[in-house]
């Protein structure tokens, strides 16, 4: 459905997006994840035709963004970050304006506006001025704007930023409902949101894709290194490091600051794909140290995200 190739964007000398390649199939809900300034919004803005790419190409179906941006704009519904709608207009007037520009008219338009009013919960606010609406309501009007032409692809830039927890749940529900039939691409820096709504997660850092896959694929990643923390009594840190680093499955052992007096804590980095906990236990059992704590850091999306996007 969407084919992105070598997409690059420079702002003067600063490279915001650096050779991104991405293939999105029809019907996927894709979450673009990344820290602030990673290039998520820039990528979406190029995809929706707001920015011209500095290099590379985006193809949606058979259209290229360079040759036929108008055809792509017809296929995509877009909600920019924080829904910058025309402030002075009534919600109804605004949606009607969008509908007409999208080529709807007459009974079809009325029908569509009714459907969207129900779907996005706009019934009660159709005759209010947009700048009197709360952020959550504005966001919903923005969603209705994006879905006006019933587009095949929906692009949402941080659809839940700045909303309260109830509104977040509402918006997510709407997105999931749409995602049953449409291709949805959304950006966010809220990890639980990506986990909750997306089939596929693409993590971007400094303008490059650093991970791509479903939540399960990312967290189960075979080439991830497991981390085990242990706490010992009656042992000196140097001795512990010396003994444990010789275990086959262990790649590194680093002592950690002493939190409780007398307790030695070390962090053990396992070799990729190996669970070395049994060997570690056996090694400790052979001494007279007392094992008071052993804890394997669970691989959540959060740890992976931090690992991949850390400033190094």
């Amino acid at each position: 459905m969407i084919h992105v190739e070598g997409l690059t964007k420079y702002y003067d000398d600063f490279c915001a997006v650096d050779h991104i390649d991405l293939d999105i199939k029809g019907g996927e809900i894709v979450g673009l994840l990344g820290p602030n300034g990673a290039g998520k919004s820039t990528t979406l803005r190029m995809l929706t035709g707001y920015f011209q790419p500095s290099a590379g190409d985006i193809r949606v179906k058979e259209h290229s963004i360079r040759e036929n941006p108008l055809a792509i704009k017809r296929l995509i519904g877009y909600l920019p970050e924080s829904a910058p709608l025309y402030k002075g207009m009534l919600v109804y007037d605004y949606l009607e304006h969008v509908a007409r520009i999208r080529g709807l008219g007459g009974a079809v338009m009325q029908q569509r506006m009714q459907t969207l009013a129900d779907m996005c919960g706009l019934r009660g606010i159709m005759h209010k001025t947009i700048d009197t609406l709360s952020k959550g309501l504005k966001q919903r009007v923005g969603l209705a704007h994006a879905m006006m032409s019933d587009p095949e692809i929906l692009v949402l830039d941080e659809p839940t930023s700045g909303l309260d927890p109830n509104q977040i749940v509402e918006i997510r529900e709407i997105i999931r409902k749409i995602g049953e039939q449409k291709t949805v691409i959304l950006s966010t820096h809220i990890l639980t949101e990506a986990e909750a709504t997306c089939d596929r997660i693409v993590i971007i850092n400094k303008g490059r894709i650093v991970a791509d896959g479903s939540t399960q694929e990312l967290t189960a990643g075979k080439d991830r290194q497991g981390r085990v923390q242990i706490g010992l009594l009656g042992a000196a840190a140097g001795e512990v490091v010396g003994r444990l680093k010789d275990i086959a499955g262990v790649s590194a052992v680093t002592p950690e600051p002493e939190a409780v007096p007398g307790e030695t804590r070390v962090q053990i980095l396992c070799r990729p794909g190996i669970d070395a906990r049994a060997d570690i236990y056996a090694a400790i059992k052979a001494t007279d140290w007392v094992l008071v704590e052993m804890n394997q850091e669970a691989q959540t999306l959060e740890t992976i995200f931090r690992e991949l996007t850390r400033e190094s």
Binding site: T48, G49, P84, Y86, I101
Partner: protein
């Protein structure tokens, strides 16, 4: 073209949903009415020439107020992003907004049609010259709107857009009265650049293609420059 008309429709309605439009129209009418009629009866002539001589400068001050928000506001609020991701071309957007500004210029002139109407009762008004004058005024509004639109596309700050447009428009409006300051060699060029000189020709009832070409090309230059700015962004 359909898209351009939709944009025109929205922009033109926008003018009248805020009170600013009515204030601008009221002030415009008060100023022209006062300046025109305070001397009208002294001259004792049934003509609008003195009304038309006010227009180049007055429009140069008013049209920038009309055009300043067209792009600057959208860029500032961010709705520019929504607009550009709808299936519309730059050309649709520019033409729609430009026509809305010109139509607002026409709305400014509309109430002043009562002047020739009433004057025609007290004397023998030359309708041909009057109609030519109004036509010229519209052309001038279009030229200034082109300049104003360009200024508005340059910045997100409406005040800056307004001042830039005013400086250019006022310059075109009064430059032929400052020929004294220019070297002999470029006097012809300066006179040709003067909106006032071209407008005065039309307002005399002389429809010369040179004057029409002048206003239309200023408007076109403004719109073309706006297009270039949009592409650059």
């Amino acid at each position: 073209m359909r898209q351009a008309l939709l944009i025109f429709n929205k922009e033109f309605k926008d003018y009248f949903t805020s009170p600013i439009a009515y204030i601008v129209i009221a002030i415009f009418l008060a100023v022209t009415g006062w300046l025109f009629f305070s001397a009208f009866f002294l001259y004792n002539q049934a003509e609008l020439r003195r009304f038309f001589t006010l227009l180049p400068l007055l429009f140069a001050l008013v049209m920038p107020l009309v055009t300043m928000r067209l792009f600057a506001e959208e860029i500032n609020v961010g709705s520019y992003e929504l607009l550009l991701t709808l299936p519309v071309t730059f050309r649709d957007i520019i033409i729609g907004k430009f026509l809305a500004a010109v139509a607002f210029g026409a709305a400014l002139l509309l109430p002043t049609l009562s002047y020739p109407f009433f004057i025609s009762f007290i004397g023998d008004l030359d309708w041909g010259v009057t109609i030519a004058g109004y036509l010229g005024a519209l052309l001038m509004a279009a030229a200034y709107a082109g300049i104003g639109l360009f200024a508005s596309s340059l910045t997100r700050n409406q005040i800056i857009a307004c001042i830039v447009a005013m400086v250019i428009c006022v310059f075109l409006a009064i430059v032929d009265q400052m020929l004294f300051f220019f070297p002999q060699a470029i006097l012809d060029l300066i006179t040709y650049a003067s909106a006032n000189a071209h407008f005065t020709n039309i307002a005399k009832g002389i429809l010369d293609s040179r004057d029409l070409v002048y206003f239309l090309s200023i408007a076109f230059l403004g719109l073309y420059a706006t297009h270039l700015v949009m592409e650059e962004k």
